[in-house]
Symmetry: C2
Subunit: 334 residues, 2 copies
C-alpha cells in the first residue's frame, strides 16, 4: 500500500522520518557520516513509500548524468552491435547507462548537430565509432567532455583513440593470401579517409612489397566510389584478380552475395579474407577467413579508459599506447 498517491520525493521521506533533506540525500548516496539507525529509518521509509529517486533532478544539481553516449553510423553491422553490447555491459557495472546516437547514414563522420545533442543532454562521456569531422575537433576538446574514439585512429592527436592494429591485420590477411599462392590480390575498402581503412590498406601494401609483388592501383576499389555493393561486385568481376582482402566482414557478405548472383563463387573464383570475425558472435554457418578482434577485451578497455577520463585519472594513456591486437582466423574462403 502506498500512502501517497503520486510522486514520492525526498521531501516525503524527510517528513516521514522527521529528518532533513540533507540527511536523506546523504544516506541515499551513501555519503559519509550517518548513523546506522538513521540509515534504517530512511531505508524503511523509502521502502514503505515506494520512493524512486528523480535522476533528472540529481543530474541537474550534481552536474553529471551517469550516462554515456555511443555514436555510430550503422547499428546493423554486427561489429557495432557486439561492441556496443560489450561496452554497455561493462559500463553497467559502474552504474552508467547509455544513449545511442546515429546520423543514420547521412555521414561517416560525427558532426556538430549530433555532438550538440550530447552537450545539451549533459552526458558524462562519449564513445564514438565515428571520427569527428575535422572542424568539430576544437569544439570537442574545448567542451571538456571525456571523448574516446574506438576502432579508429582519428585525424587529430588531441582526440584519444583506442585503435586496432589495422596495419598488422592487413599484413596478416595479405601474407596469408600470398602464402596460398595468390599474387593478384584486390583491396576493397569503404572510404580512404577512414583511418581504419587506411591502416588496413597500408598493411596490404606492406605485405605485397615484402614479397616483391608490384602493387596495382586498379586492384583497389572503395565503396565510396561505387555507391552500391552491386556496382562494386561488378567492378571486381572486371579485374583479373583471384583474391580479395576486404575492409570488413559485413561488406564481404554483401559483396560475396552479389558475386554469387553473377555466378562467381568464393573460394572457387576468389580467395577471400574479411575483417572483424563477425561470425563468432552470430555463429553464422558461413566460415570466412577473417582478421579477428577480441571485442570483449576491446569493450572492457574502452570502458576502463573512459571511466579514468571521467575521474580525471591520466593513467589511461598507458592503455591507449598500444593498439588492440588482432589475429587471423582461418575459415573456408581461402
Amino acid at each position: 500500500m502506498k500512502p501517497t498517491e503520486k510522486k514520492v520525493t525526498i521531501r516525503d521521506i524527510a517528513a516521514e522520518t522527521g529528518l532533513s533533506l540533507n540527511t536523506i540525500s546523504k544516506v541515499l548516496n551513501k555519503k559519509p557520516y550517518y548513523s546506522k539507525e538513521t540509515e534504517r529509518r530512511v531505508m524503511e521509509a523509502v521502502q514503505r513509500l515506494g520512493y524512486i529517486p528523480n535522476a533528472i533532478a540529481s543530474s541537474l544539481r550534481a552536474g553529471r548524468s551517469k550516462t554515456v553516449a555511443i555514436v555510430f553510423d550503422d547499428l546493423i553491422n554486427p561489429y557495432y552491435s557486439v561492441m556496443t553490447f560489450s561496452i554497455a555491459r561493462n559500463l553497467a557495472q559502474s552504474r552508467y547507462d547509455i544513449m545511442v546516437f546515429s546520423n543514420y547514414g547521412a555521414s561517416s563522420f560525427l558532426d556538430a548537430t549530433l555532438f550538440n545533442k550530447i552537450v545539451s543532454r549533459k552526458l558524462d562521456a562519449v564513445i564514438s565509432f565515428l571520427e569527428p569531422q575535422p572542424e568539430l575537433t576544437d569544439t570537442i576538446v574545448q567542451s571538456g567532455i571525456p571523448f574516446l574514439l574506438v576502432g579508429r585512429k582519428g585525424n587529430d592527436e588531441r582526440i584519444d583513440a583506442l585503435a586496432l592494429d589495422d596495419a598488422e591485420g592487413g599484413r596478416l590477411a595479405v601474407e596469408h593470401l600470398i602464402g596460398r599462392g595468390h599474387t593478384r590480390i584486390a583491396y576493397i575498402g569503404a572510404h580512404p579517409a577512414i583511418s581504419a581503412d587506411a591502416g588496413r590498406f597500408q598493411g596490404y601494401c606492406e605485405a605485397l612489397a615484402a614479397h616483391g609483388i608490384p602493387q596495382c592501383n586498379d586492384y583497389v576499389a572503395y565503396l565510396s566510389d561505387y555507391q552500391t555493393f552491386e556496382a562494386l561486385a561488378r567492378r571486381l568481376t572486371e579485374l583479373p584478380v583471384d583474391a580479395v582482402f576486404c575492409f570488413n566482414d559485413s561488406f564481404s557478405y554483401s559483396i560475396i552475395d552479389e558475386l554469387r548472383r553473377r555466378g562467381k563463387l568464393v573460394p572457387r573464383d576468389y580467395a577471400w579474407v574479411g575483417y572483424d570475425n563477425i561470425q563468432r558472435a552470430l555463429s553464422l554457418p558461413v566460415h570466412l577467413t577473417t582478421v579477428s578482434i577480441d571485442t570483449d577485451y576491446m569493450g572492457k578497455c574502452a570502458v576502463d579508459v573512459l571511466l579514468k577520463k571521467i575521474e580525471g585519472d591520466d593513467s589511461y594513456h598507458e592503455i591507449l599506447k598500444k593498439p588492440i591486437a588482432v589475429s587471423l582466423v582461418l575459415g573456408e574462403t581461402t
Copy 2:
C-alpha cells in the same frame, strides 16, 4: 569568439538582449506570441554566445525528457539491432533520442530493477522487446508511462502490444515443409512462455493437423531445456526428423553450424525454415528459407503508436488491432 568562457545559459541570452527569461524560453521553444524582431535578437545572441540549451534543466521543469527507452535481452541478434535502428530513426524525426537497456541475458523478462531505472530517469515512453514479469504489470500500468511491447503478445491485456502474426508465420513455414513432402517435422523454440514462441508453435500444430499429420511431442525442443545450442543440436540428431521449423534465424544459424560439426548438412539432411529474415538486412551469403517481417514498417508502426500514447491520443488502438503481417521467403534450405 565566445565572449563568455563557460556555460552560457538562458540568463546570458536575457542579459545580452535585454529581454526576460520568459521571452527567451518562448522563442527557443517556438511557443506562440513573440515578434519577428524579438526572435531575431534572441537567435542572434544564441548564435554569438554559442548557447546550447541544458536539456536536463528543461526536463526537470517540463516533466518530460524527450527520450524513449528500448529494452531487450540481446542486442547481438540482428533482428533486435535492425528493429532498434528503425525505431530510433523514426523517433528522431520527432526529436526523441533513445536509451537502450538490457539485463544482459540475466532474464528473458523485463524486471523491476530495470523498469525502476526507466522511472528514475523520467523517460517519456518504453518500447520493450521483452515481456514484463507478471508481477511487474501492475507497476507499469500504475506508472502511467506509455509502454509498448513489440513483437510479442504479452501476458496481460493492460499491456499494449504490437504483435506479429506468429501463428500465421508458423502455418506458412510448416505448410511449406509439408508441401515439400516432409511429415516428420521438428519445432525448435526458445522458451514456451514467450508468446511469440507459443504463437509460432501453435501455427506449427495447426498446419500439421490440417494435413492429418499426428503431432509428436518428441519432435519439439526448447533451448531453455537444453541450455546450449550444442546440446540442442545433439538432441536433434537423435530425432527421426527430416525437417525443422525453428523459432528464429539467429538460433537457426547457430544450430545449423553445430549440426555441420556433426556432419549433418542443411538442406541435405534437414529441410529448414527460420524466422525473421535476418539475411535481408545483413546481405548474408546464406539463403535460409524463413518467415519474413517487414521491420521498416514495424518500426514505423511502433513509433506511431508510441507517439500517440505520449500525446494521449487513444486512436492508436486501431493500429494494434491487427498483427503485423508476415510472409514466407524461399531460400536454399528447403
